[in-house]
Amino acid sequence: MSEPEEERGQASKRADEFMQVFKKGAEFTQELLKENERLRYQVLQLDEAAKARQDESGGVDPEVERLRLRVEELEQEKQEILDRIKHVEAENLDFANRYVEIENENNMLANLYIASYQLHSTLDFREVLQVITEIIINLIGGEEFGIMLLDEKTNRLSAVASEGVACEDLPVVELGQGIIGQMARTGENYFIDDLEHYQKDFSHPIVCIPLKIKEHVIGVIVIYQLLVQKSRFADVDYELFTLLAGHAATAIFSSKLYSESERKLSTIQGFLDLMTK
């Protein structure tokens, strides 16, 4: 075979190979087009099916709708629980406040009960004065104070017991004279307005409580200084002052009467013994 014929034969062979590749490419493209058409048809069918389902269920997927309703329910439950927690917290606060109030009342009642119990636990005059002193120190928090009794013959008040100050240092007060005398005359309690800037003055105490049997004043309690840790009076202190005003007076009066009757009895007994010997 000549050279040009051989070249022609090779070119024809390459052309055949190219044609075969081209044919294969064309076939593949045809297949792709068919597949594309098939898929488009399927998408169309699915779209139609979805549309049909939406139309059937009013526009929303039932599963989605079920979940949406469940979420709403849970949200509502959550809100209810939060509201309940708020309510319980408010109740807790209320209980805590009431607990504090009741504890304060308990404390007040315990103080009043013990003060009253102790005041009437003896008929000895000195012991009664000691109990009053203990009440003022331990329950009220007085540091310097005195108990003054009225001499009905002279109408003068003088100290019979004191704490933190000597009885002799306390003034003898005429009924109606100064704050102490006035309170003894009127029977009213006196409390100084400004505890913080008080300057000690024996004729002008921070507190003056008349000791009364009904409206009859037999003496006064005067307080000049409170314990360092006591900066102001509490509610219970005013209750204790009221209790002292009545019960301390009765206890003092009873113990004095008892002492006098005991003394008289002993004198009479002495006479009787002399006469019967």
Binding site: Y113, I114, E134, G141, Q229
Partner: protein, 126 residues
């Protein structure tokens, strides 16, 4: 229910009665009273206590002496001691705590404070 034994050392009957009154509100407490430091010391040696509440200013033996003597007794080295006193100055508090007191309450007292401190030291929860 476990029972704790508490010793109250206080010379003032009024104050002693108030402390006992407060302590009786705690369940499971057995309370013993002493009139002064010497009486308190006698009761400490003849019995076994889980808590001691004592005043400072008392005749014969004061509360601070009682605290230091109790702390020297091996049986009371760890037993909680509470001071209840009229002495409200910081140096008094520091002195009492330095010699071994566990807590310091100043008068006039609130019964609720006694209950709170007692429960705390005896580790009573309710």
């Amino acid at each position: 229910m476990s029972t704790y034994k508490v010793l109250v050392v206080e010379d003032s009957p009024t104050m002693r009665q108030l402390i006992v009154f407060a302590l009786k509100r705690i369940r499971g407490l057995s309370i013993v009273e002493a009139n002064d430091g010497v009486d308190g010391l006698k009761k400490l040696s003849s019995d076994r206590f889980d808590l001691i509440l004592t005043d400072i200013n008392m005749p014969i033996m004061d509360g601070l002496k009682l605290v230091s003597l109790a702390r020297n007794d091996p049986g009371y080295k760890e037993v909680p001691i509470v001071i209840i006193t009229t002495e409200g100055a910081n140096e008094d508090r520091e002195r009492a705590l330095a010699i071994g007191a566990n807590d310091y309450i100043t008068k006039p007292i609130q019964t609720v404070k006694i209950i709170e401190v007692t429960k705390k030291l005896l580790k009573i929860s309710s």
